[in-house]
Symmetry: C2
Subunit: 240 residues, 2 copies
Amino acid sequence: MGAFYLDIKKDLLDKILSGVYPQGSIIPNEYELAEIYKVSRPTVRKAVQILVGEGYLEKRKKRGTIVCDPTIRQEFAQVIQTFDQEVKEKGLTPSTKVLTFKKEKAEEEVCQKLNLSETEKVYKLVRLRYIDDQPNVLVTTYVPCRLFEHLSDIDFEKESLYQTFHKEGRDITSIKRKLDVILADETCADLLDIKNGDPLFYFHSTGYDVTHTVIEYSIAKYRGDRNSFVFELSNTVYYS
Amino acid sequence: MGAFYLDIKKDLLDKILSGVYPQGSIIPNEYELAEIYKVSRPTVRKAVQILVGEGYLEKRKKRGTIVCDPTIRQEFAQVIQTFDQEVKEKGLTPSTKVLTFKKEKAEEEVCQKLNLSETEKVYKLVRLRYIDDQPNVLVTTYVPCRLFEHLSDIDFEKESLYQTFHKEGRDITSIKRKLDVILADETCADLLDIKNGDPLFYFHSTGYDVTHTVIEYSIAKYRGDRNSFVFELSNTVYYS
């Protein structure tokens, strides 16, 4: 019974994300939720409070608890996490389909980003990643073959790339990211189950190990309707 | 003569941003640039190196120095800066038009974000901000009237909001931001000089003073074609 509020939180979140409780609607009040889940009001309150803290719900004076926008909050935290970890921490279920995984001669842009010579080969890994069975992000990752000999043996539908780097003794310890916005083309829209021309977050990332060797270069397209990125600036104030 | 490389940098950047040197093109080599600007090659090299560091240019083996995408890099730094400061640091010229500035009764969303009672008034400030005379971001800011009595007297085409807070003894010391992507509607497209349906960065920000009092709530729409956000994750590695 200990963590029962987490089950309620997960159920409420599922209902928010699936639209049972649509954006802008009022969810049942504490009494009603306690009745629905057959638990005490403090248990319900705890579940609701977590969702308020995570930004999915908002308490409104007099009106009750309202559903905020349905996007999944991604934290620009100061920690590097795997996709699976991040999603699981939100009480959701991650999964991955590998669309392409092969060795190839790197294109010029990739050579440049990975500091490769023109003849060097890279692993090209294209993954479609799901949250609760809904496609969320399409990622293409390039890794120098020279750094990891046995990557081809690994099933990246089951294994995390970062965990694999870790097992091979080459943790990613810093990542540089550039974020743009673009519109989905037809292929991308089909894969992500959105409409042609819908807006996407468009990330270019370069991952480094502790010696500042570039380990990966990746290009990710996140659905704009299902993701938000939250972050906090603080402390140092500079006004000229 | 001391900082002449900065003038060259600014001129090169102007040419990149205005499309004289379009994305993907090769800029003149060091010899040619030294000739064009009538300076030494080390001076030219210094200017080019800054633009490489800022991500506007990239050195390609054999081919030369290539123009990267033409967006303005915004840093998700750990410091809070004013728009003017950020833009000036890039060697560009900021300016601001105030579209609306008035006191009004706060709407529910604004009441909520600023922790106001239902009868409290807010300043509503709508600004269109330009970089080198090109509209870049449309920002609507709400500030509780209770906290600042004399804001109405201030010309926000000349003064920075954050500097005004500073002068009034209420520095913003932390900001929470949520980032989404949306498509420009007709009005927004007209104001930002883009096309209806073009993608935008869509920020909701809440600014706090050192006592964690909410000082401002703002909604900003950045042109997607002219801005990129870059940031770095590092140090702590968490793999479950």
